[in-house]
């Protein structure tokens, strides 16, 4: 299962969930109908003349559906903001990226390394300060609005390897699209919960009414019983909801554990964390009131239930450790790494044959949505190798803003003076000061690291207020247009920044998937591949052909090589917009083609990489470090 097909699959799993949900609603509806029929039929004067009273059924259904859908829509709407909304619902405190606290700093480092290695935006980080136990969660709809939260106990009790194991587990939830399903589940549970809640309110108000009018109305008794019945039906509905919840969740936990080991190549880390949970006096259950509703989000069990085997959202800890242990001893781990080494050697020998740096499109494609331990250590090295002032700047909003401005300075004295004048005019002397002092450090950074650095700066940029963001945005485009032309680097930087920050500031929802057929996107894909192919070091025609060969379509005529002058940034923007609305399978074919076009001549140059980074960011596809 690769990243794209799991993303597609979760969408279909969500459909299945909705199906179960509808069945549950119908069952609830019918039981409420009978309760109403019996209670009001018996209590009222009409008596039960028939089991089928259409008017009553329509009325009951209408009310039930209205209540459940209000509850569900309300919750889903509330969580539309993605991971951070869930984290805040749980009482999470957002970790400031510039934190000086040792534990928080370590958490930030671990998460950043993993994000760079995997090529996804750094998720928002939250700490649950009131929870001394070891637990963690991931939430959100897509990679761009993801949030990862850990309890205070996790930060304090685990060592770096164990923390890395836990975070890797959460990252695998992000890649597997588990978060999307989880949020849907929360909505479903809330709809049913509302029935239960209404029951208790009706029961109480019935009881009050009875006290007030001292049994004047015979119906009062009926209302109380009706309330109790709703309460019970709601409760039974909740039980079914919980069973769905735990069934969906449990299997995913094993998968996430296995993935975490695969990412870090260090089963001891995760196993150590699980051992500590098993051994700790503080059970991993949470104090927060939302713990039960959101239990399927967590790293380990967040609430206790008498019927653990039925309702547990997580497999028992010892089972999980056991599963890890067998994964550990299994020879296939060694075999896999051996075969990987072999394939690496092969590429290496090709390398030396041609004497260029070659990249393997198949390997990169397979690496999307996973993390490789080598990339992980490479990411660690990049981060550690940054000059201290740059590292500081990345982690706080003014610095992050200034760092991006500094990257856009032209280098030609005349234009640059203008640009700095602009910065001062629009953002004040504070920003100007920071830009000037960052400028000198920036020259020490390898050009190909700049875009990954932009991606780590995103969380700090999110801390700006809306007004500050507005200013930042317009200054950014002023600086880009200062010399009257837009370079590829400038385009890529702006694309990444605006795409990632749109979620926060303009509340733009995730695009609906409307394209499932590659041929319909012939024009768009032709344009995007052509744009990349023109930047090749070799022959553009050949790069184009290499890319088109890989597309799984019969009608290759739909795809035509477009000349460079027509590959304008505006056209590319539009094409990306359309491609963003397509299924994972199409995105995968596109990226595959793009990577083949780059690899065709055996050299991946900076411009090609900037194109593909910008495009991958715009269609929400992770792109691992290369």
């Amino acid at each position: 299962m690769d990243f794209f097909s799991t993303q597609d699959r979760t969408r279909s799993t969500t459909r299945k969930l909705i199906f179960i949900y509808i069945i549950a609603i119908i069952a609830l509806d019918i039981s409420i109908y009978f309760v109403t029929l019996i209670i009001f039929g018996v209590a009222g004067d009409m008596g039960i003349s028939s089991f089928w009273i259409p008017e009553l059924f329509i009325g009951v259904s209408f009310v039930t559906l209205a209540i459940i859908s209000i509850g569900t829509i309300f919750r889903v709407y509330q969580l539309k903001k993605g991971g951070s909304a869930v984290a805040e619902m749980l009482g999470g405190r957002k970790v400031s990226m510039s934190s000086t606290d040792f534990n928080e700093q370590r958490l930030i480092n671990v998460v950043e390394e993993m994000s760079i290695a995997a090529g996804i935006p750094v998720p928002d980080l939250y700490v649950l300060d009131n929870e001394p136990s070891i637990n963690a969660f991931a939430a959100g709809y897509s990679t761009r609005d993801a949030a990862v939260g850990v309890t205070r106990g996790t930060m304090e009790q685990l060592n770096r390897d164990e923390l890395q194991g836990v975070i890797a587990h959460e990252f695998s939830h992000i890649f597997n699209g588990d978060m999307r399903i989880n949020i849907r589940l929360i909505g479903i549970l809330n709809g049913i919960l509302l029935i239960h809640l209404m029951g208790s309110i009706i029961m109480r108000s019935g009881a009050y009414g009875r006290m007030g009018s001292s049994g004047k109305n015979k119906n009062q008794g009926g209302i109380i019983i009706f309330g109790i019945a709703l309460l019970i039906i709601g409760y039974i509905g909740m039980l079914f909801g919980r069973i769905i919840q735990s069934a969906v969740s449990r299997q995913r936990e094993y998968l996430a554990d296995a993935a975490a080991v695969q990412y870090t190549r260090n089963p001891d880390g995760l196993a150590g964390a699980l051992h500590k949970i098993a051994a700790s006096v503080e059970k991993p259950t949470l104090n927060d009131a939302h713990a039960m509703e959101l239990s399927h989000l967590f790293f380990s069990k967040s609430f206790k239930s008498g019927l653990d085997s039925l309702f547990a959202t997580h497999p028992p800890i010892d089972k999980r450790i056991e599963a890890l242990g067998s994964a550990l001893s299994q020879e296939d781990v060694m075999k896999r790494s051996a075969s990987k080494k072999r394939s690496k050697n092969q590429t290496k020998s090709q390398d030396s044959d041609k004497g260029h740096n070659i990249m393997d499109p198949e390997w990169i494609l397979a690496a999307i949505g996973t993390i490789d331990s080598q990339q992980l250590s490479k990411a660690g090295n990049i981060l550690a190798g940054l000059p201290q002032p740059v590292k500081d700047a990345i982690h706080e909003p003014l610095g992050a803003e200034s760092l991006l401005f500094a990257m856009l300075l032209s280098g030609e004295i005349e234009i640059e003076t203008n640009q700095i004048e602009q910065i001062k005019k629009m953002c004040g002397s504070e920003t100007e000061f920071a830009v000037l002092s960052l400028k000198q450090h920036l020259s020490k950074i390898k050009p190909e690291w700049k875009l990954p650095i932009v991606e780590i700066a995103i969380p700090s940029l999110k801390e700006m207020s809306e007004e500050q963001f507005g200013r930042f945005r317009s200054t950014l485009s002023e600086l880009i247009n200062a010399d009257g032309k837009v370079t590829l680097f400038e385009y890529a930087l702006e694309k990444i920044v605006t795409h990632q920050l749109e979620v926060v500031y303009s509340k733009k929802a995730d695009p609906e998937i409307t394209h499932a057929n590659l041929n319909k996107l012939g024009g768009e894909i032709s344009l995007l591949i052509s744009a990349i192919a023109h930047e090749t070091t070799g022959n553009p025609e050949e790069a184009w052909n290499a890319a088109i060969q890989t597309l799984p379509v019969k009608l290759k005529e739909e795809f035509t090589f477009i000349k460079q002058s027509d590959c304008t940034f505006d056209a590319v923007d539009q094409a990306l917009e359309e491609l963003g609305k397509s299924s994972g399978a199409i995105k995968k074919s596109f990226l595959n083609a793009a990577l083949h076009s780059i690899a065709q001549d055996g050299i991946s140059n900076r411009k090609e990489m900037e194109w593909v980074r910008a495009m991958a960011a715009a269609i929400d596809s992770p792109l691992p470090l290369m």
Binding site: V63, S96, L398, S465
Partner: protein, 196 residues
């Protein structure tokens, strides 16, 4: 029957409505609280820098003990206040107090920098140059973070006072929050403007 239906639907809305207002206000309050933690980190950094600065200056400014001590006192006081505010940035009185103590600290620092002008040796000191540069950039970060915090407070206060939110805000215990204003930005900017 129709009556019951209407009653139930109204009931459902009556549950949902206040809850959604509550949630919205919580989200906005969280946002400005996060905003304060951003200021907080930089304030702490500033408090850490100041003793080093004074320590370096001591060797040169032997006759200005009073000024140096005034800076340290103001710094200690501001640090005290900051600790109490960090626990609850939603308390307007605490924020006002912090603004006051920060103002005093900036004033003392401004005086210190003005005096240091007449000590060329101190100005040429490598350590001093570096510390001043760092202090300047920290103060810039504070003012940027403060702006974000103030914007977030304003959004929260506006949402709180809007109808119908205002009906529920007090019942749920959402009191008005205060912006973190430093009154005369001239004094505040004086320190960074000193160039060595």
């Amino acid at each position: 029957m129709t009556f019951t239906i209407i009653l139930l639907v109204i009931l459902a809305i009556l549950i949902i409505w206040p809850v959604s207002i509550y949630n919205k206000l919580v989200a906005l309050r969280n946002r400005f609280k996060n905003g304060f933690s951003q200021i907080d980190v930089q304030l702490k950094r500033r408090y850490d820098l100041i003793p080093n600065l004074i320590e370096t200056a001591k060797a040169y400014m032997k006759h200005e003990r009073e000024t140096l001590e005034a800076v340290i006192t103001a710094r200690n006081q501001a640090q005290q206040v900051e600790k109490s505010v960090a626990d609850n940035p939603a308390d307007p009185a605490a924020i006002q107090k912090l603004a006051g103590s920060e103002q005093a600290l900036s004033g003392a620092l401004g005086k210190f920098f003005a005096l240091s002008e007449s000590y060329p040796d101190l100005k040429a000191n490598q350590n001093m140059m570096q510390l001043t540069e760092e202090l300047t950039s920290t103060e810039n970060k504070i003012s940027f973070a403060r702006q974000a915090f103030n914007d977030a407070v304003m959004n929260y206060n506006t949402a709180r006072e809007k109808f119908p939110n205002v009906l529920f805000a007090n019942i749920f215990g959402f009191s008005a929050a205060s912006q973190f204003q430093l009154e005369s930005p001239d004094v505040e900017r004086q320190a960074p403007k000193v160039s060595f």
